[in-house]
Symmetry: C3
Subunit: 285 residues, 3 copies
């Protein structure tokens, strides 16, 4: 009898996400084991339970999903999970990280822009570029060859984000954005807003004053939006001469990427799906 | 591929009820997501996870069940859940409340009585009528046209319960029962005991002294029963000239109503199944 | 419609074991209800939810599994669960105890030895024989007629273990092992090491000095092993003239016994599967 596919949902929040659980089922997982309030020291037993129960030929039918609302906590749990795999004995299972939806959201934003722009020829401003989603957006853009400017109200944080990206993507063309918005936008074809909810990052006047701008993507779903004059449901909608995407418009693409990533987990037992790997899936989907 | 039906069990008790979980599966839910120790402030995320993951045509395949041992906590969680639906965008899922089994028990008690009496022509005494089950029994009887007397050792609580019922059912014929038991029973065809476990509310002598009485229903499963001289397993059993139901006798009807209500949740995405709606289901079943 | 089989996993550890959950599914349980952090006073409600939801003809399709990392806590939860069954009304479900894998591990160790030895004609030394696994190994050997010596660094604990076994198996031939290892081994055909991880209990020299020894079984998976000179993956492997089993070698047999026990739970509604019952299953498998 073919063994059922099992996704082990590891969530540091007190109640494991309903969102992640529904998407896992709809992506085809037969069973979801949902763990909430997961502490780092509990990860070892969860991983051992995954790798010691099925034979090597069936290990691809068990996988881990690391979620929760805090991306840095999720990253620590991912490292901890990898530490307890035993690849030298073939004892490992695939893992996906999507804390706060950061990886699938960043991949969806970049893929939306790539529908309209040749990213290798694009200059992009990432507003709110030092947060977990913004950093991932900037990294994915840089990896695809774009010239990237990271906007932040705190120059030191922008510089730190730039250095973090360069460590992961040595060939990256990335730098802090000038603090003056019109200078930051000058020559850009793409602006993506990944800031905190309810903070306006790109006023309509600034947008209109930038003649090179062709695509804007706003990842904030709660009004007021980060980019003035567009709608949360915009999906390749023309707004004042630019192509606009709002958070809900990007959401459909995000959901497809999320489901494709879950399905991918069960094809092999040695995958680690973080931002880049999820973005790569997106390209084929 | 047809999406699996999902029931999200929201339970404020530390361990989510096995009872509710088994019944949900046996009623046909494909998957049950069980959440225990749910705090009011956690409900928003649970609801958003339900309404933001599936398209409008599939939202009826996700539903919420609110349980737990405390009815007033359950009522507060229901209000909180409704507050986070977004009906203006069609984003909502159906919800059922059955904390402590109060709604299904009350509906089962009333339906048992209705097998033998024309409730619109009935005068009923509800003993223990100020507790969560008793109030629901009284309300359902009043809505079906019965003249209802609410028994309680504390007249102020009986008066408060009467007023609460009148707010929900303006046409209700309901009043506090006289404190003297023979006066309270005078002219009644029906007596339902919904008091605390182990408290005798209707002695055999008082029952025999009431010539109009035709049906008695006792909802207490733990001896001593609330109605003297009947058995917990009585189901339309004749006892001293009246038709008697004990808690286990009512239990089979309660289980049918519970399962019918769960199945009903997955027919539409806009139902709120509280006492009245569950009672209405019972009529057809 | 046939009701789905449900295994209710009762685990006192904060996160219910992934291992037990995967094995339960792979053994054929349709659904696993996983409860973590279970306190003794919560067991009553879990049991009542199991026995009050399905009719007598379907009760065998619900069962309990008691796990967790602490065997004595598991034993207490088993007693508590049995206390809340209502066999006088036919209201009970089957239960299996396998806290820390102790029962399935002990049964697998004994079955491994029985492949090579007539246990009724065997003298056996159980090193680390006072711990939860060691005591079970000794008890199962004694029940099968072996003469058993219980090794421990603390003579008082060995004596206590001997008495505990005699209470359960009055005909047992069991005694504390001499504190001198060569005396303890003298005349033994079998040595089983069930001590704490990383403690060497049987050095190679001592093993070689015992001419009667034919089979050794080491239940410790973490190097250094309890028995020097064998490998954790040994499975009936010859080592210096004896037949050796390491923890992983025993693990395959343990897994088969575990799955057979889970499947057995759903054949009747009145089983209590503790060490002896699980060992008996092993014989047939």
């Amino acid at each position: 009898m073919t063994k059922r596919t099992i996704l082990i949902q590891i969530d540091p929040d007190p109640q494991p996400s309903v969102f992640d659980r529904v998407v896992a089922l709809d992506a085809g997982a037969d069973e979801v084991f949902s763990y909430g309030g997961v502490q780092r020291e509990q990860v070892r037993n969860l991983v051992h339970g995954a790798i010691f129960t099925r034979g090597p030929q069936d290990l691809r039918r068990t996988a881990l999903f690391i979620g929760g609302s805090d991306v840095s906590v999720g990253e620590a749990l991912l490292q901890e999970a990898l530490r307890h795999m035993l690849p030298q004995f073939g004892l490992r299972v695939s893992v996906m990280l999507d804390a706060n939806g950061a990886n699938t959201t960043a991949a969806a934003a970049v893929r939306s822009a790539a529908r309209h722009l040749d990213l290798a020829q694009t200059t992009a401003l990432v507003l709110g570029g030092t947060g977990p989603v913004g950093q991932r957006v900037a990294r994915l853009l840089a990896r695809r060859g774009a010239e990237v400017r990271i906007g932040s109200r705190q120059p030191a944080r922008a510089q730190a984000a730039v250095e973090a990206i360069r460590r992961k993507v040595p060939e990256a063309r990335v730098q802090p954005a000038p603090s003056d918005l019109s200078a930051a936008l000058a020559g850009c074809q793409l602006a993506i807003a990944a800031g905190a909810a309810g903070v306006l990052l790109l006023p309509l006047a600034a947008r209109r004053a930038c003649p090179t701008l062709r695509v804007v993507v706003d990842l904030n779903a709660v009004p007021p939006l980060g980019i003035e004059g567009i709608d949360v449901a915009d999906k390749a909608t023309e707004r004042d001469g630019v192509i606009a995407y709002g958070a809900i418009g990007v959401g459909g693409i995000k959901m497809k990427i999320h489901k494709a990533a879950i399905a991918r987990l069960f094809e092999r037992n040695d995958l680690v799906l973080d931002a880049e790997e999820i973005d790569a899936l997106g390209e084929g989907g």
